[in-house]
């Protein structure tokens, strides 16, 4: 009984791997946090699905939104785009993602790009939980 109550009160063990590295890897490489934490199947699924969504979004002539504080929704979309990590950085540096607002698929492209980033943010939160031993 005494041992149980002591165990209950004790603080959880510190994560074996530094959390900041889990966040950084998870952000840069979709699924990278999971791969590093040994959840390889999940990691590979994210590694394939999220960049694929991002590329499809670009192919559908979606736009990588700029940070425009005067337009809050555009700024939020920009944050979501950046959350895709390395795919965003590569596309941005190569000049992709200008977007063509008159294209039939423009809104679909934006939906793919923004959702890829937001899903990657959820994946990072999941990696955080795994690193803390909650899952």
């Amino acid at each position: 009984m005494a041992a149980r109550s002591t165990a209950k009160r004790s603080t959880p063990a510190a994560p074996a791997k530094p959390l900041w590295l889990v966040y950084l890897l998870g952000w840069l490489v979709p699924g990278g946090g999971h791969l590093w934490l040994g959840r390889t199947t999940k990691g590979f699924v994210f590694l394939v699905a999220l960049p694929a969504m991002f590329v499809i979004g670009l192919a559908l002539e979606g736009r990588l939104f700029p940070f425009a504080p005067s337009e809050p929704l555009v700024a939020l979309a920009a944050v979501a785009d950046v959350a895709s990590g390395l795919p965003y950085l590569i596309a941005h540096s190569l000049g992709y993602g200008a977007g063509r607002a008159v294209a039939l698929t423009y809104d679909y492209g934006n939906a793919f790009l923004i959702t890829a980033g937001l899903l990657n943010a959820l994946v990072i939160v999941d990696a955080h939980d795994i690193a803390l031993g909650r899952k």
Binding site: K42, V45, F46, A49, L50, A52, M53, I56, A59, L60, E61, L104, T105, Y108, A111, F112, T115, L119, L122, V123, D126, K135
Partner: protein
């Protein structure tokens, strides 16, 4: 991209969201497949139902 079918693009979108969502939320392959299928079906059915509602009651 040459795909311009709205429903096909919606299905592709729902597929990716369902795959990531299913794998994210569940731990076993069976549970993941089930959650993914439910998410995909829910997104497709929801969009089609909403489409018909907007057809009858346009904004």
């Amino acid at each position: 991209m040459s795909i311009q079918s709205h429903i096909l693009l919606m299905a592709v979108f729902a597929f990716f969201v369902a795959v990531v969502g299913g794998v994210l939320l569940k731990d076993t392959a069976r549970q993941q497949a089930r959650a993914g299928a439910e998410t995909f079906g829910g997104l497709m059915a929801g969009a089609i139902i909403l489409g018909w509602i907007l057809y009858v009651f346009p904004l």
